[in-house]
């Protein structure tokens, strides 16, 4: 048995063809995660009564349970739960008719939100306490403090971590093949089922993932440099 480069190229071509699916699975939870994650971070930062505690519990639970388990559990709950409801109300729609990609998106979203909100909370807390106090002391409202003073400082600080969150989500998307979503990895594997050249398929998938994540890392470095220049011109 030898390494078949020719087959690796075939598998890679197939993997690249399905890369948009992986990108969709990574970016949609990421973008939505930033929106909801910021909200959760703010809720926790300002100790909103019941909601703050609830969010804390949610984050501990999501961060404590492996991604694959969350994907599988959500898959089962969504598919079986949907069928049960459909049976009760005599719908003609069944879980088989629903694209599994939505299940994958939901699962990745719940994971992403928890991680991203922790990142943003960390960045918000890293902003000097004096900044909050100074802003309040000149009579700004909560809203103004956040919009004008805190978020402009916190978001650039959060950028490197956000990028590593994105890489984390990208890597997690490789698990969705377990609920038979055809993404980059599954596409490469499907080509290998005929001839059992799994090693080549996995290497092909690895290279594509590597290029994707390497690009994100490069962009992150460039953005970081940009923002640190901005920072030096400021008060700091």
């Amino acid at each position: 048995m030898n390494f078949d480069f020719h087959f690796m190229m075939i598998a890679m071509k197939e993997a690249i063809r399905y890369t948009p699916v992986t990108l969709l699975l990574a970016f949609v939870p990421f973008v939505l995660g930033i929106l909801l994650g910021t909200l959760i971070a703010l809720v926790r930062l300002f100790h909103v009564r019941i909601l703050g505690r609830l969010m804390q519990v949610y984050i501990v639970i999501t961060k404590g349970i492996p991604v694959i388990l969350q994907i599988l559990i959500i898959y089962f709950v969504m598919v079986q739960g949907f069928d049960t409801i459909a049976d009760r109300f005599h719908w003609s729609l069944h879980s088989k008719d629903i694209n599994v990609i939505y299940v994958a998106l939901t699962a990745l979203f719940t994971v992403a939100v928890a991680n991203i909100s922790e990142t943003i909370r960390g960045a918000l807390m890293a902003v000097n306490r004096g900044q909050y106090e100074a802003a309040y002391s000149v009579g700004m409202t909560h809203n103004q403090v956040l919009r004008r003073i805190i978020l402009p400082q916190a978001l650039p600080a959060a950028l490197p971590m956000l990028c590593s969150n994105l890489i984390g989500i990208m890597k997690s998307t490789s698990l969705v093949f377990m609920i038979s979503v055809v993404d980059l990895m599954n596409a490469a594997l499907i080509t290998a089922t005929a001839n059992y050249k799994y090693l080549e398929a996995y290497v092909a998938a690895a290279i594509v993932y590597w290029v994707l994540n390497g690009t994100i890392e490069k962009i992150s470095l460039i953005l970081e440099k940009r923002f640190s220049v901005y920072r030096k011109e400021g008060v700091f």
């Binding site: 089962f76 079986q80 996995y202």
Partner: protein, 231 residues
Amino acid sequence: MGKLFDIQLVFEYFPKLLSRLHITLSIVFAATVLGVILGTVLALFRLAKTPILNQVAVVYISFMRGTPIIVQMFIVYYGLPLLLLMIHLDINHWDKLIFIIITYGLNMAAFMAEIIRASIIGVSIGQTEAAYSVGMSRLQAFRRIVAPQALLIALPSLGMNMMGLLQNTSIAFSLGIIDVIGKARVIGASTYHTLEGYVGAAVIFLALCILMEYGFTHIEKKLKYKMIGLI
């Protein structure tokens, strides 16, 4: 199919799942040891800027951080025997668990290398200079001054990584290892109550994670107290 979710079954499956916990824990432990040793070597290559080896370390770390662990696992599983066959070493009969440990160890090494490097850089250069100025040799300065401080810096990230590793071990079942999640799948396949098994496994992982976090905070506090006490 019956009921969608039966909480009674979760309790029933729980002991069965716990009986496989030692596999998960041994993967975490062995991989961490392997990762720390290999990671230190990699970090030293990078810190000393050894030509060639430095670049190799950079590429290695980038690959390990940039690809999903499941892909790495299968590459090791299929590729390592092929690679070692070239030097006439047949490892096809090895236990799957060994491949898993190698994969997670190699993966951990990349993350550890970055942590170790960052924490050694994180110790102020003045500390090293002060150590030299009182006549310590390079090794002494590192061992007595830099390393203890670096350890304190590295500890929180080490804890985070170990928790990440614990969560990553959940993928080991895809290679046919019967760990906690593998057992949950086996139960699911034989009784059609997959969800209960998964929920039980989730509870175990959650508890382990919280326990680990608590443990690391405790160690950190103790270590900090001890070191500052020594000074």
